[in-house]
Symmetry: C2
Subunit: 202 residues, 2 copies
């Protein structure tokens, strides 16, 4: 059934992807409504009618980022047979994704919402929780490795997960500074050099 009234002149998903891209590139505070309406190709009233306000638009753009950009990295974590391979793939996917030439460098979730209070960036808490969720995913994958028997019992899963999450965070900053895919892959490889020591029984 077609809705009543005049139909929208734009594709909602399409313009939301454009908004996501702008937020990703310029940050929440660095993005003005003029930037958004220009990039999205719609007028301000259409934007507000469709997405509420700037904060809600950002929240919607964040969800799009998660489902369209972030998933590839985290899927690799589940696919591999062993925890070691999973972490290696995870870092490799991160390196390739963060230095992709046709998109902003680094991760929108990692880089955004690091300054000011919740008042300045409404999604600050949501972003922080996403980052903490990611650490948890790494830890759970490690614990699965322990359960599967490919990781020794008694290792400090939290410490190892914190370490690899921090490496991934850092890769966002390094990527923003222009690091090549090879450079990031080297860093991923270097991080995996710690694996044996970190996962050997204490």
């Amino acid at each position: 059934m077609t809705p009543k009234g005049r139909p929208r002149a734009f594709d909602c998903d399409d313009v939301l992807r454009r908004a996501m891209r702008i937020f990703w590139e310029k940050g929440y505070e660095g993005t003005s409504m003029t930037d958004l309406t220009t990039a999205m190709g719609i007028g301000a009233p259409s934007l507000y009618a469709a997405f509420g306000n700037k904060a809600e638009l950002f929240a919607a753009a964040l969800k799009v980022y998660e489902t369209q950009i972030g998933t590839a990295i985290w899927e690799s974590l589940e696919k591999a047979a062993t925890a070691r391979q999973a972490f290696a793939d995870f870092l490799k996917e991160t390196a390739l994704s963060y230095a992709q030439p046709d998109q902003p460098r680094g991760c929108m979730i990692a880089l955004e919402g690091l300054f000011g209070d919740a008042d300045a960036i409404p999604a600050r808490e949501a972003l922080r929780e996403r980052r903490l969720d990611n650490v948890r995913l790494l830890r759970e994958r490690l614990e699965r490795g322990v359960a599967d028997g490919d990781v020794a019992r008694g290792i400090d899963c939290r410490k190892v997960a914190d370490f690899y999450a921090t490496v991934q965070h850092g890769m966002s900053i390094t990527a923003r500074d222009g690091a090549s895919p090879d450079a990031l892959l080297n860093t991923a490889d270097a991080a995996m050099a710690a694996w044996e020591t970190l996962t050997s029984p204490r």
Copy 2:
């Protein structure tokens, strides 16, 4: 000799430290001139007369940050006798500094100027160069280790330096999310677990 005219009613270094603290906490874009004049305890005309404009004030605050906050970390890199000890101390100092309870979490240089173009944040290029300088310092310390004989010849100094710089970058983000000093020290320790493999001859 005392200068002519009415003397300043504030201490220039003191108010600059306050400005540095605000920029560190809220970021360049997230800091308004009202935030600054309030925190510095001076009127807007006094601020502009003493420091020029917002961008110049930020540049001055950045220098204060480098000399007053950043030095401790980088001094530790030179003090230690071996490259390994230098990197371990460097990461340990980073962990302690980034989670200090009486100051903003993480590093002002690492976190600032990651979004938008040079137009949005005038110091963006300067910040990027500082970050790249830091990677260079790490690489040079490694090369010194090779020259001193405590690091094997033929290792990829750039790769190792990139890795540890990326870990440090990541610690700024992890610290902003509220990581405890112990958690960051654990990550520093985990990063050092890669040292043997990274510095063994190929």
